[in-house]
């Protein structure tokens, strides 16, 4: 058995049926192994997309997903996707080919030090020098990626290691024993008691759910917790979907791009329960102010406690376990008057933004689209104004809302949505991007066609890099520099070139009809919606 064959065996042991990749010489032995196996390889059009597609796949399947690249530029192209996955704690296994082990460090053709280059963007990385290490390394990599706070793991394998024969019989380890990595955290009973006692004393508790709730498969238990003890919820952008938008306890997304009433709720609460959120600048610009009230911080990652916010009452552990335990505790339900107070704030908040009548109102677009989408549909938002309009207006039902919240990587939506579709081909999936982000990933339309994926893509077209333009409007006296995209490409021609259905929507009046047609269309469809370049998020 060769190293490459052993790699394939390991992937099969982990239940991997699809990998996203882009081949090259240094990973060619592995591709020979793929050729002989029944693992499906999805050829993307640029390595970064392999990482994003695997990210979408991992988020949808809730398991680690695999991307494969060659050495040098193939590997460095992947780094942005790894950084994106790391920031959002998405479990990925990235396999990169490497030059022959005898040539390492000599700057030969397509050599890049991937372990060094990715050090701050992966949970862990391996450079495999001994072919017999392959089973252990893969077992560990999948374990590290999918336990504790999840994240990407890199396996860099020189091509001679892929080609050489195993000296020992292949045996996939049953167990992992890494002395420096023990992700199972025993919940501290004393801390749990403190948390329960704080909850019982609180008059106005508010739960703030982050992306960790979804990563920890904790939506249901959090929902039961909120409902049982009548605790209202706000969420970060990555925490969207813990409660449906119309749930009476859901008070929306907080942060400088969120709902003003969500932020007001934070201000009014006497106890904030932060769950699976790092409370970075976008969610709470001045976290130190939070400490005026009691804050409980629940996270699986000890290092998140006190990183951006403190002091708090920390509780470290698996949130599903924690909240399942808390459901059995004797906690006093919060009063109806607290919810009433928040409802009042919500109804009193008036949206004063004005959107021009001659274009598509992006808020209305997202509302109408998400209202009409299937209950279990997946919506993948890109980065830019489109992301913020999406997060602000998306009507969450029982589906998923995905986006890159930590890194904010443009060009995420289409490849990630492709990954989602590869897990669940029948799930209605819509990628929404701006005309800037679209141009960063439009080459993946070919991947979409080649794999017969019926993805629906919405482009909010305003001819600008809108969010930067908005920034320049706010901070630099409307000195618009480097943000005009102009009228190209001709999107109808792009759609034609990739042989996909094309639609355009340029006014609010046609939105209803066009969205119906768009969602009902067979196969992939690209719909361009004209948004006024003067429209701003705030």
């Amino acid at each position: 058995m060769t190293g490459a064959q052993a790699m394939i065996r390991c992937l099969k042991e982990e239940g991997i049926t699809k990998v996203f990749g882009y081949p090259g010489v240094a990973i060619a032995p592995f591709y020979e192994g793929l050729y002989e196996s029944d693992i499906e390889h999805i050829l993307v059009r640029q390595e970064q997309s392999a990482g994003h597609a695997a990210s979408g796949y991992a988020r949808m399947s809730r398991k680690p997903a695999v991307c494969v690249v060659t050495s040098g530029p193939g590997a460095t192209n992947l780094i942005t996707a790894l950084a994106t996955a790391y920031a959002d704690s998405i479990p990925l296994i990235a396999i990169s080919g490497q030059v022959s082990s005898k040539l390492l460090g000599r700057d030969v053709f397509q050599e890049a030090d991937m372990r060094g280059a990715t050090r701050s963007f992966v949970k862990y990385s391996y450079l495999v020098k001994d072919v017999d290490d392959i089973p252990r390394v893969f077992k560990e990599a999948f374990y590290i990626a999918s336990t504790g706070r999840k994240g990407p793991v890199l396996i860099d394998i020189p091509m001679d290691v892929q080609s050489s024969e195993l000296k020992k019989d292949f045996k996939y380890p049953d167990q992992v024993n890494i002395r420096g990595y023990k992700p199972e955290i025993k919940i501290n009973p004393v801390q749990l008691k403190r948390v329960v006692s704080l909850l019982s004393q609180a008059e106005k508790p508010l739960l703030c759910a982050g992306g960790g709730v979804i990563l920890g498969n904790g939506e249901e238990v959090i929902r039961s917790f909120c409902e049982k003890f009548n605790i209202p919820l706000v969420h970060t952008m990555m925490g969207m979907g813990v409660l449906p938008k119309k749930h009476p306890l859901n008070f929306g997304m907080l942060g400088n791009n969120g709902k003003p009433y969500a932020n007001k709720a934070v201000g009014k609460a006497d106890l904030l329960i932060v769950v699976g959120a790092r409370i970075a600048d976008r969610a709470i610009p001045k976290p130190e102010k939070l400490t005026r009230r009691a804050v409980i911080h629940i996270d699986i990652d000890t290092a998140e406690i006190g990183k951006n916010m403190g002091p708090t009452v920390p509780l470290v552990g698996d949130l599903k376990e924690i909240f399942t335990m808390m459901l059995d505790e004797d906690i006093r339900s919060s009063k109806k008057s607290w919810i009433k107070e928040l409802e009042k704030v919500k109804t009193e908040t008036v949206d004063e933004r004005v959107f021009s009548e001659n274009f598509v109102n992006p808020n209305l677009l997202v509302q109408t689209l998400s209202e009409k989408m299937d209950d279990d549909a997946v919506y993948v938002a890109d980065v830019g104004q489109n992301q913020l309009w999406s997060a602000d207006n998306y009507i969450m039902k029982d589906g998923r809302f995905m986006t890159t919240g930590g890194m904010g990587t443009m060009g995420y939506s289409i490849p990630a949505a492709l990954g989602v579709k590869m897990v669940s081909p029948k799930t209605q999936t819509v990628a929404v991007c701006g005309d800037g982000a679209f141009q960063m990933c439009m080459s993946e339309l070919a991947t979409m066609k080649a794999n017969k994926v019926d993805l629906k893509i919405v482009i909010m077209r305003n001819g600008y890099l809108g969010l930067v333009k908005e920034y320049q409007y706010n901070l630099y006296d409307e000195h618009y520099e480097g943000v005009k995209l102009a009228e190209w490409p001709l999107y109808d021609k792009i759609a034609e070139a990739y042989d996909i259905k094309y639609m355009e929507c340029s006014s609010n009046d046609e939105l209803d009809k066009k969205i119906d047609e768009f969602l009902a269309s067979k196969g992939a469809c690209l719909m361009v919606c004209d948004v006024d370049a003067e429209n701003r998020v705030k």
């Binding site: 050090r119 949970k123 420096g180 990595y181 290092a303 006190g306 990183k307």
Partner: protein
């Protein structure tokens, strides 16, 4: 405040750079660093000292703990630990101050490793403050060259 960390790590390539990279990436400062193999060949021991506010020192400990190649992190209290640094130094002398230099070495317990025509090569190890003080005293003689290790520390 000062943080003294005694860290056991996997003795393999890339670990030192991963640990130092962790400090660099998050803007933490390494004041001193000493690394060496332990009695087990596959485990190295690092002593890292750093200064920062409470949050920084807490974060260093937590981030070190997160690193897969870090087996154990211990935060040592300065008052409850033995901390030692070592220096090798070439101290210049002339006929008029030679005996006072030798006397100084005898008082503090510095070893004379070599007597050269114009300098003494000295070895001295002590707590970091004492080392600092000795270096200060040597300045009046003239320091030609100095090599200083990082702190190594152990709980009493």
């Amino acid at each position: 405040m000062k943080g003294i960390f005694s860290v056991l790590v996997e003795n393999k390539d890339g670990v030192l750079s991963a640990v130092s990279g962790l400090f660099a990436r998050r803007g933490f400062n390494i004041d001193t660093l000493a690394v060496g193999e332990t009695d087990k060949h596959d485990i190295s021991s690092m002593t890292i000292t750093s200064t920062g506010d409470q949050r920084t020192i807490d974060q260093i400990e937590k981030q070190l703990n997160k690193n897969v190649d870090v087996i154990k992190v211990r935060r040592l209290a300065e008052s409850k630990s033995v901390c030692i640094e070592m220096i090798l130094v070439k101290a210049a002398y002339n006929m008029s101050n030679r005996s006072s230099l030798i006397e100084l070495c005898q008082i503090v317990g510095a070893k004379i490793m070599k007597v050269a025509p114009k300098y003494l090569l000295l070895e001295y190890h002590a707590e970091p403050e004492a080392v600092e003080g000795f270096i200060d005293l040597l300045r009046s003689y003239g320091i030609i060259e100095i090599q200083r290790t990082g702190t190594i520390a152990m709980e009493k």
